[in-house]
């Protein structure tokens, strides 16, 4: 219980730090924001007025507290280019991004973990060598390029799958339409984390399979399948869950490229648009959203490990 509280407490601290960094991010912007709003010919009085209106005349610490208070009230600022609150603009897009990352994560788990387990089962065999080399190469693939190749080959040349957007714009279908649009981007987004998860799962499983209890199980005549998928997986799962939690971070970052390439109307694409338009409040809030999502995912992963592995509960307390 104390361990849980401590973990929650440190999460709150990290979130506080995250908002501080996101706040400071805008301080890095070269130039005077008031002048950026008014243009080069502004008078001193009008500059001072805008500064007061934006709260820029207050000390930095007060500005941060104001910002933090705004966040807690759900006020993420206002877009400079679209006449909309940032939260209004970003929340629907966050949802779309979560659909994409969720699908990609599913691909990672369903393909990556079994791949790693099978490679570990045949350690140093042909399957192990080939699949792990492919995984290493996969982890090095530039996603933006891979997405383009898929668009070119599967979308444009063979015309198998839609390559852009979430729904058919002329004739939007339901769930099936979404699935068809999801295939290429989800697979692209999954590629790198999948490769990393496969490699990590392999090394975790290689360790597990060398343990004494596995030898005992083998000696008592259990089937290899039962040893791998029941007893082996049970012990390998906790570290794998932690690794997957960290890979979600890669997924959330890499998805920006995927959304740009495939025209997926998510947070990443909005970030890209806002960056090109230098709409910094939107960039600021988008970065904050993703970072918070990442922190929460890792909190969840730790909680899952606690459930899966009784030993970890005691270890944390010690």
């Amino acid at each position: 219980m104390i361990a849980v509280l401590r973990r929650l407490g440190s999460t709150v601290l990290v979130l506080l730090g995250v908002s501080l960094i996101v706040f400071l991010l805008l301080q890095l912007v070269p130039g005077d924001p008031a002048r950026a709003v008014l243009g080069a010919g502004a008078t001193q009085e009008s500059l001072a007025a805008v500064r007061a209106q934006l709260g820029l005349d207050k000390p930095l610490a007060v500005q941060f507290l104001d910002y933090l208070g705004g966040l807690l009230r759900g006020d993420f600022g206002r877009s400079l280019t679209v006449n909309q609150d940032v939260s209004q603009l970003l929340l629907p897009r966050l949802e779309n991004t979560l659909v994409l990352t969720g699908a990609a994560l599913l691909v990672c788990l369903v393909v990556g973990i079994p791949l790693g387990i099978l490679a570990a089962r045949h350690q140093y065999g042909l399957f192990d060598r080939i699949s792990m080399f492919v995984a290493l190469a996969g982890a090095c693939v530039p996603v933006y390029w891979f997405g383009l190749v898929l668009v070119g080959v599967l979308g444009l040349s063979l015309d198998l799958l839609p390559t852009s957007g979430m729904y058919n714009s002329r004739n939007p279908g339901g769930f099936e339409d979404l699935l068809a649009h999801l295939v290429l981007p989800a697979f692209t987004a999954a590629l790198v984390p999948l490769a990393v998860i496969a490699r990590m799962s392999r090394s975790v499983f290689v360790d597990v399979l060398q343990q004494d209890y596995i030898r005992t199980l083998r000696a008592s005549g259990l089937s290899e399948a039962s040893i791998l998928w029941r007893h082996g997986l049970r012990n390998a799962l906790p570290p794998i869950v932690n690794i997957v939690g960290l890979q979600v971070g890669y997924l959330l970052g890499g998805v920006i490229f995927v959304e740009v390439v495939f025209g997926w109307p998510g947070l990443g694409q909005q970030l890209y648009t806002s960056i090109t338009q230098r709409d910094l409040p939107v960039v600021q809030a988008g970065v904050l959203f993703v970072a918070v999502a990442f922190v929460l995912v890792n909190l969840l992963a730790d909680a899952a490990v606690g459930v899966l592995d009784p030993r970890s509960r005691r270890a944390v307390r010690a």
């Binding site: 501080l20 960094i21 991010l25 693939v141 530039p142 668009v151 971070g249 970052g253 920006i256």
Partner: protein, 316 residues
């Protein structure tokens, strides 16, 4: 095999077996003499065929980029509109031309300078900073160390790619700003590796032995800990260079990296994206493949280094 072995600096006629026999066995608690330590690592690396090939590929790319002014047949920025989008194998333009009629091979060679520099320079600059932060935090384990690690925890909350993009977006495009953005992004990752290695090594017997035999803190840090922490960090940094090649080109792809028309592999890929609809794949495919090969080479070299620097795998 001769040409692939040359880059490691190993004399071609190194007699391996008798040399190993002559190296005196180090006594417990004493590090082996310095020259043989490096030499053993080099020898172990040279035996790793995959790593040596990867190193040769990487050196080839680096040399080709360095000598781009001599090697590139055309200007990387001026195009010939009449030859626009001609494919691979066009006479005089072996890798074809891009959407503005620029020679892809020339852009690839010139672009290598920017793409490599943007990825590798930040890693090199952050290396000593991360080493120092990790050593201090890991060795003192006091309030300062705690504070450093808490700060890094906060930075870890940002996905690597996202932080790099956000910083680059805020700082504005340009070679120097991208390097700064990538450098800041790297600090927590490299510092944590230095920190965990330091903590692991401090707990080992050889450190205890050195301390018992009266080594000063300075000796302990510089002679016992630093070599081991540097080894671990070096392996990690090599791998990171591979990742950063991909990330840096990605920043250029998004338009927050190197500014066009400056050639860069990421910009080339993004140029290729716009002509993809015209059915021309080579413009995007070629730089993408080069990024992949270079990133993979860095990773394979990193793997080779890890094995070569592991004393248990050196002598046999």
């Amino acid at each position: 095999m001769n040409e692939t072995e040359a880059p490691t600096g190993l004399p071609a006629t190194a007699p391996t077996a008798p040399e190993v026999a002559r190296v005196p066995r180090p006594r417990r608690g004493q590090p082996p003499a310095r020259p043989s330590r490096t030499r053993l690592a080099v020898r172990a690396f040279a035996r790793d065929r995959v790593a040596v090939v990867a190193l040769a590929v990487l050196l080839l790319v680096v040399l080709a980029s360095l000598f781009a002014p001599l090697l590139a047949p055309f200007s990387p920025t001026a195009g010939d509109a009449s030859l626009r989008l001609q494919g691979i194998g066009t006479p005089g333009h072996p890798l074809g031309l891009d959407g503005q009629g620029r020679d892809v091979l020339s852009r690839l060679l010139w672009g290598g300078r920017n793409s490599l520099a943007v990825a590798v320079v930040p890693v090199l600059v952050v290396f000593p900073i991360a080493l120092l932060a990790g050593l201090v935090a890991g060795y003192t384990r006091g309030h300062l160390g705690d504070l450093i690690m808490r700060l890094l925890d906060v930075l870890f909350a940002f996905p690597l790619v996202l932080l790099a993009i956000a910083l680059a977006a805020v700082l504005g495009a340009g070679l120097g700003n991208v390097m700064l953005a990538i450098g800041i992004t790297l600090i927590p990752y490299m510092a944590r590796v230095a920190y965990t290695t330091t903590v692991q090594e401090v707990g080992k017997e050889y450190v205890e032995a050195a301390r018992a035999s009266g080594a000063t803190t300075r000796d302990l840090l510089l002679r016992e800990l630093v070599p081991n922490v540097v080894s671990a960090l070096l392996v990690y940094a090599t791998t990171l260079c591979g990742l950063m090649i991909v990330v840096a080109a990605g920043l250029s792809f998004l338009g927050v990296g190197v500014i066009p028309p400056t050639p860069d592999w990421g910009i080339m890929t993004s140029d290729g994206a716009s002509v993809l609809l015209e059915g021309k794949f080579h413009v995007a495919t070629i730089p993408g493949l080069v990024i992949l090969v270079v990133a993979l080479s860095f990773n394979l070299i990193g793997d080779g280094l890890r094995d070569a620097l592991d004393p248990r795998k050196q002598t046999t």
